[in-house]
């Protein structure tokens, strides 16, 4: 019978004070300061949401703010820190879902919230934790000498670079563009020799001939870039190269849409993870997920796994597939050969980036690389920044060049 009371209890959490509008405005501003994309439009939306819902508890208020200020699950930890800082005195321990290591709640000014890693621009996005560069101001400041440093580093092999030096290459990597050859899309444009008919236009013309469609208006498919699928070996010897090439993919224009998998003895799909974290985080997670890399690399098995789970279901069809591996196969090379043959029937192009091919005259005589080689359209070294152009050219080449395909009579 006491209806309002039962509602209050369902809402849960502690009661809110009267000066809510002022607090809400302060909260939106604090979210902005903490690096969340909260502009005046979102602040206004939160204000309207609070009027609409009339929350009586901090928990319901948090839910109004979540729906209006946040647009990505990765923002929630920062959001919760700011929420605790602004409404801290009001939050019960039980309902605070933030980071247990969040700053002390009551009265703490929102300015104590660290800026997001990545806000500092430059190499910041690649760091798991805000380093010295990111810890200072939240704006990008051009650092003198970056270009020359990058030039110097461009000529060194990835496996000679320290983690810091690799990060210093980020700016240079942003200048690259990853592009794949076009494929036909389901969308269309008018074309005189197109295979499909544009009914709408044909009908319009047909009216002039009393309904006989004499002149067919043809449609041809539009062209879109092909999907890029990257399979990256993260076993011990490959780790520095894997790190560098994933960083390249993350920084370069056009690389963001790629499907990325890592493997050593098992296959891990990074694509959803890459949308959340920086390559450094993601690679760290991937290595943690696959702690068994000292056991060697099973490229054939990983490839089979990829084809069974994703590739054959459409991901590899018509795609450009980039395999990053030194080709040290601890499994059966015959399996790798079989799986490469399978992949080559699906994919538009297979490019293999193998740092061992940096040695002039390298020829795969036995083992994994020998089995895989005939199915590749291109093998590149991609072992340093100065070698990346070859890799990009190989990915963009529209003409398949498989030896397995061309030598079979």
């Amino acid at each position: 019978m006491p209806e309002p009371a039962s509602r209050r209890s369902r809402e849960g959490g502690s009661r809110l004070p009267g000066d809510l509008p002022a607090l809400v405005a302060r909260f939106a501003a604090a979210c902005h300061d903490a690096g969340l994309p909260v502009g005046p439009d979102r602040a206004e939306r939160l204000a309207r949401a609070v009027v609409t819902v009339a929350p009586r508890t901090t928990q319901r208020l948090r839910h109004c703010a979540l729906a209006t200020l946040v647009s990505d699950p990765a923002q929630i930890p920062v959001f919760d820190q700011v929420f605790a800082a602004v409404f801290g005195g009001l939050v019960d321990a039980a309902e605070s879902r933030g980071d247990p290591n969040a700053p002390p709640l009551a009265g703490a000014p929102p300015a104590t919230v660290a800026p997001r890693a990545g806000e500092a621009g430059g190499a910041g996005v690649l760091q798991a934790e805000p380093g010295p560069a990111a810890a200072g101001a939240g704006t990008a400041v051009p650092v003198p000498g970056v270009a020359s440093a990058a030039e110097r580093l461009a000529g060194r092999d990835f496996d000679e670079l320290s983690a810091e030096e690799l990060l210093a290459l980020a700016a240079a990597m942003r200048r690259f563009r990853v592009a794949t050859p076009p494929r036909r899309s389901r969308r269309t444009r008018t074309a005189p020799h197109g295979r499909r008919t544009d009914l709408r236009s044909t009908l319009r013309t047909a009216r002039r001939t009393a309904g006989d469609p004499v002149e067919m208006i043809r449609l041809a498919p539009r062209r879109r870039p092909r999907r890029l699928v990257v399979l990256c070996d993260i076993s011990g010897s490959m780790e520095p190269h894997a790190r560098a090439l994933l960083q390249l993919l993350y920084c370069a224009g056009g690389g963001a849409g790629a499907e990325v998998f890592t493997f050593a003895t098992r296959l891990t799909r990074l694509t959803p993870a890459l949308a959340h974290g920086t390559p450094a985080d993601v690679l760290h997670r991937a290595t943690r997920l696959a702690p068994d890399w000292s056991g060697g690399t099973r490229i054939g098995e990983a490839l089979k796994r990829f084809l069974d789970s994703y590739g054959a279901r459409g991901m590899a069809r018509g795609a450009v597939v980039l395999i990053i591996s030194d080709g040290w196969e601890t499994g059966d090379p015959a399996l790798l050969g079989e799986q490469m043959a399978r992949l080559s029937r699906l994919a538009h192009r297979i490019v293999w980036a193998n740092p061992r091919t940096r040695q002039p005259g390298y020829r795969p005589l036995v083992g994994g690389m020998a089995a895989a080689w005939p199915h590749c359209d291109a093998v590149v070294s991609a072992h340093r920044l100065a070698a990346i152009d070859d890799l990009l050219a190989a990915l963009a080449d529209p003409v398949p060049q498989r030896t397995a395909r061309t030598t079979v009579r």
Partner: protein
């Protein structure tokens, strides 16, 4: 396109939900358990006339949230399933060409010539979900579900963005159709790719995480009403443990429901290793995942909490 006429289950004039608690109760009434955050987001979408973007891994109840909302409000559901290559013709409207051709022939037999004004009229227009949502006559707003928007391509996203921003669509031959009762738009995404910032800025947002085991247990009870209470609890706990393994496809709510259904249909009286083995395919979708579960020890995974 699926148009579900107002069902008899929803409360009459159901769009008149006074507050978040009432909406939560109404969703509960149609078998959907929403937590307070989701209910608040849905309520805001309803009241503020802003689209709601629901994201989460597959099977956490995004699609069902929208269909349940329509049911709870007793209103029309218009559903657009997205896929790569989806075109405006499939989403918005199409002209009824056979009918137009027929009219041209009929007119010709009477010695009359038809012009644009005769052929491109309301009579020949086939409304697809987006146009149907815009022209929905009310009294309450329709629920427009744009499902798995991450599967459509960017061009469609841009087009959708404009339509949502304007609550209007323009048909070149007929002019602009403005919504009488703007729809409650619910967009879902499995996050296979990021959506455009512009679209995200336009939307309210809610991330649906995998619910805790007690809520999963409750959901199972609702969805498999015949199953024993102990079974729902045991399945929820076991699924939670499966999710702790590093699997290719961690089981979600949908898998918990189908596993319970399988166990229930087989009439198991105890969730032991043989029973789990017989039904493992209902909860783990890959042979590799089943192997991983066996390696971790099925007996422990399914043991009582």
């Amino acid at each position: 396109m699926t148009a579900v006429p107002p069902g008899g289950t929803g409360p009459p004039g159901g769009s008149d939900v006074p507050d978040v608690d009432a909406l939560r109760a109404a969703l509960d009434g149609v078998g959907y358990l929403a937590d307070d955050a989701l209910a608040t987001a849905l309520f805001l979408a309803l009241r503020m006339g802003q689209p709601l973007l629901l994201e989460g891994e597959p099977g956490v109840g995004k699609t069902r949230a929208a269909t349940a909302l329509a049911e709870a409000l007793g209103t029309t559901l218009l559903r657009l399933q997205c896929y790569e290559g989806l075109t405006a013709g499939e989403a918005l409207y199409e002209w009824n060409y056979p009918r137009q051709l027929l009219s041209i022939r009929l007119a010709e037999s009477r010695g009359v010539e038809l012009g644009d004004a005769d052929l491109f009229t309301e009579d020949y227009l086939l409304a697809r979900p987006l146009l149907a949502a815009i022209t929905h006559p009310g009294p309450g707003p329709a629920v427009l579900l744009i499902d798995e928007i991450d599967r459509a391509d960017d061009e469609f996203e841009a087009f959708l963005f404009e339509m949502l921003a304007e609550s209007a669509v323009t048909i070149p031959e007929l002019g602009t159709r403005r919504a009488v009762v703007p729809p409650v738009a619910v967009l879902t995404s499995n996050r296979t790719r990021d959506l455009h910032d512009a679209l995200k800025r336009r939307c309210l947002y809610h991330w649906i995480g995998y619910p805790d085991p007690r809520r999963v247990e409750e959901i199972i009870r609702r969805r498999v009403p015949g199953a024993a209470d102990w079974l729902a609890a045991r399945v929820a706990d076991a699924v939670q443990r499966f999710r702790g393994l590093d699997l290719l496809k961690p089981p979600g709510v949908a898998e918990a429901i189908s596993w319970t259904t399988a166990l229930h249909v087989l009439g198991v009286t105890e969730l032991d290793v043989p029973a789990a083995e017989r039904t493992l395919g209902a909860v783990l979708k890959y042979a590799e995942d089943s192997d991983a579960a066996r390696a971790a020890g099925l007996a422990t995974l399914i043991s009582r909490a």
